[in-house]
């Protein structure tokens, strides 16, 4: 099954270095001009995803997670969007690429799974029609061959009696099956990059786990790069090799998932960790919501965009949080862990002030310090 059906336009024939990451995003900025002003959805975002690896993008609604990945597929209406920076897919620049070129990438080398499969699938076409349509766009095959492929894919994602269910409409599927069908549709052309935008948010917990397992299996099988967009840190812990935390359209923390989850260095990440309920831990553990609302993208706050909600602003001298935007720089723990925060000693504040409140069982009651072995808890169990 060849996926190389898209031709590289000659004017951007940059030979892809096979060692380079499959996706390189550099200084991506996405702005939407509106009647009320310019919405700064994504600002100076940079990340890479390698083949066979998974990047988790975490953040609340409006943090720019989805907007940035839609840009990778060039799905923003150029008339109503201002894009700058660079997105290179397999060495080829996507920003400014002609529509014809983008259409050959979409659904072919890059595929996307959307959040709510009920609304993301066309209600009036059968599941089989929708999967085989995607296949036939990028492969010259007959309708019956495409249908066979659709059945094969449905079978692969675990739909029982796929040859019968292929003729069902989306509303005849259960929520979990719809999401499986959605995944089958995304994988029909063996994409090298799969972007999953909140793939489990609309599902109940048992089905969530099944879908995540399925995604993991498929990734191993196809060695594709995966971006998983979520606000659920559990999903990130389960799937992602690297994690990027986004806030107000910017990356605020970026590094190996285990690092980010065990030694977060940015107060917003602490807030995210503090707001996860966990039935297995100490009853003393408090569920701490992040105060306030997501920032306005029309009039972003000055300085660090998190400062209006940050309880640690006072610890930074000279009103720096309100006046100066911190850079995304390596923290105390090396170059593989970037954070955007003025705090000088985030590790200490996390261990002393934050952890005892959100996870008292990780603190040694004698010394009042973080238990080292527990602190380095396996990310799979977070």
């Amino acid at each position: 099954m060849s996926t190389d059906t898209f031709e590289r336009p000659s004017d951007m024939a940059a030979p892809a270095n096979p060692d380079d990451p499959f996706l390189i995003v550099e200084d991506l900025t996405v702005k939407f001009p509106t009647h009320d002003g310019l919405v700064q959805a994504v600002t100076d975002l940079s990340y890479t995803v390698e083949r066979g690896k998974t990047l988790g993008i975490v953040g609340e609604s409006g943090s720019g997670k989805s907007v940035s990945s839609m840009a990778v597929l060039g799905l923003h209406d150029p008339k109503h969007t201002r894009l700058s920076g660079s997105i290179r897919v397999n060495g080829q620049e996507v920003i400014g690429a002609p529509e014809d070129h983008m259409r050959k990438i979409r659904g072919n080398s890059i595929a996307m799974i959307f959040q709510d499969a009920l609304t993301a699938l066309h209600p009036f076409y059968t599941i089989g029609d929708q999967i085989s349509e995607g296949y036939r766009i990028h492969h010259r095959v007959s309708k019956s061959d495409a249908k066979k492929r659709a059945i094969e894919m449905l079978d692969r994602v675990g739909i029982p009696q796929a040859n019968r269910r292929v003729d069902d409409y989306p509303h005849q599927f259960s929520g979990g099956m719809r999401q499986r069908a959605m995944i089958a549709m995304a994988l029909v052309n063996d994409p090298q990059l799969l972007i999953a935008d909140e793939p489990t948010t609309a599902l109940d917990v048992t089905v969530q786990a099944q879908i995540l397992d399925l995604l993991q299996d498929l990734q191993r099988e196809f060695n594709s790069a995966v971006i998983i967009i979520t606000h659920d840190l559990g999903v990130v812990a389960e799937l992602a090799d690297t994690t990027m935390v986004m806030y107000g359209g910017r990356a605020v923390e970026y590094g190996a998932t285990r690092e980010i989850l065990t030694h977060p260095e940015m107060p917003y990440s602490w807030g995210l960790l503090g707001s996860i309920p966990d039935v297995s831990t100490d009853a003393e553990a408090r569920l701490v919501p992040i105060p306030g609302n997501p920032p306005s993208l029309l009039n972003p706050p000055t300085g660090c965009s998190f400062h209006p909600r940050c309880p640690h602003v006072d610890k930074v001298p000279g009103d720096l949080c309100r006046t100066t935007l911190p850079d995304l720089t390596p923290g105390d723990r090396g170059d593989n862990h970037l954070k955007r925060c003025h705090l000088a000693n985030p590790g200490e504040i996390y261990a002393v002030e934050v952890l005892p409140e959100i996870a008292p069982d990780l603190i040694d009651p004698e010394t009042g310090e973080m238990i080292p072995e527990l602190a380095a808890v396996d990310p799979d169990e977070v």
Binding site: H122, Y125, I137
Partner: protein, 336 residues
């Protein structure tokens, strides 16, 4: 599915029966025995004696009760009537008997059969034109929403809908037919004899109906399309690499067309029941014009009842068809 259709057909029949009753009762009560009196007075001075009038009333059934008159009329539709008296003459009226037309002295059924092809041709052509034009313009306006072309369409639809229809039809006839002679002849030419002539005669009325009605369809389609284009499944189609035109006309239009078809079914039924202005202005000998003529004194009551009955049946059938069609258009709707 079958159960639903049977239930709907039964309730449709009930609606038709009730409509026929209302029409019959209202006119019978309203006009009373005036048809008998009118005829009696026409006999000449001194000839309309009380005995004569009574015998005319008896002939025409005015001495019987309302219910028995309705029963005779309704029964006639199914089995026909042997003797029907109009103006002292005796007529035979085979089933389906809707009475005798005073204007022509023919059975109403005979006249209806003669007039209906013109109305049918006008309605089918006009409706096709406004549906196709409206949906096409509306889809394109949705695609280019916010542009000058889109605003022109929305603006022109406001203008068109604020000009009375008869004015448009009249001006079109005066200028395009009478003055410029682009469409030298209008009217209905029997389609079985010369279809080309039928088309050329009907083209102007079709265009007038099509163009005046298409703007509202364009606006409605545009609204539905704009809404549909914001749906998640449109983004999914784009993310699959589907071409823009296919996204528009296959994915979006497929969903947006459903409510348009619903409205269309009812509008089409109205057209089928006859268009008075269009038929009158373009001298089309259809049932709209026929019904209008029947209203001049003395009122040709049987013709009026027949046109009302035909309209009622058409609207009821159109409703039924739209409901059944809906379940085919939208697989989520199960009417079992």
């Amino acid at each position: 599915m079958t159960g639903f259709i049977v239930r709907r057909i039964l309730s449709s029949i009930l609606v038709v029966i009730l409509t026929s009753m209302f029409v019959f009762v209202l006119f019978f009560k309203g006009l009373g025995d005036s048809p008998a009196v009118n005829y009696c007075e026409k006999l000449g001075p001194g000839k309309c004696t009380t005995a004569k009038l009574d015998s005319i009333k008896h002939q025409m059934g005015f001495d019987k009760s309302l219910a028995s008159n309705y029963a005779t009329w309704a029964k006639g539709i199914f089995v026909g009537r042997d003797k029907v008296y109009v103006d002292g003459k005796e007529y035979e009226c085979p089933a389906p008997c809707l009475g005798i037309s005073i204007m022509t002295g023919n059975t109403v059924t005979h006249d209806l059969k003669q007039k209906y092809p013109a109305t049918l041709t006008l309605a089918v052509g006009g409706a096709t034109m406004y549906l196709v034009l409206g949906v096409l313009l509306g889809s394109l306006a949705a695609r280019w929403r916010g542009t000058l072309a889109d605003r022109l369409l929305v603006g022109s639809s406001l203008i068109v809908s604020s000009v009375p229809f008869y004015l448009v039809a009249l001006l079109a006839w005066i200028y395009l037919s009478l003055q410029l002679k682009i469409f030298p002849e209008t009217g209905y030419y029997p389609i079985s004899e010369n279809p080309a002539k039928t088309i050329s005669w009907m083209m102007l009325p079709w265009l007038v109906i099509g163009l005046t009605n298409c703007t509202s369809y364009a606006r409605f389609t545009r609204g539905q399309m704009v809404e549909t284009l914001n749906e998640d499944y449109i983004r999914t189609a784009q993310a699959k690499g589907v071409k823009t035109n296919r996204v528009l006309f296959k994915h979006a239009l497929r969903a947006a067309i459903v409510p348009v078809i619903t409205i269309f079914g009812l509008d089409f039924a109205t057209l089928l029941a006859g268009t008075i202005f269009t038929e009158r202005i373009f001298s089309i000998d259809g049932i709209g014009n026929w019904g209008l003529t029947a209203l001049s004194t003395p009122i040709d009551i049987n013709v009026v009842s027949a046109t009302v009955l035909v309209s009622a049946i058409l609207v009821v059938v159109a409703n039924l068809l739209v409901d059944i069609l809906y379940s085919f258009l939208d697989p989520r709707v199960s009417i079992a």
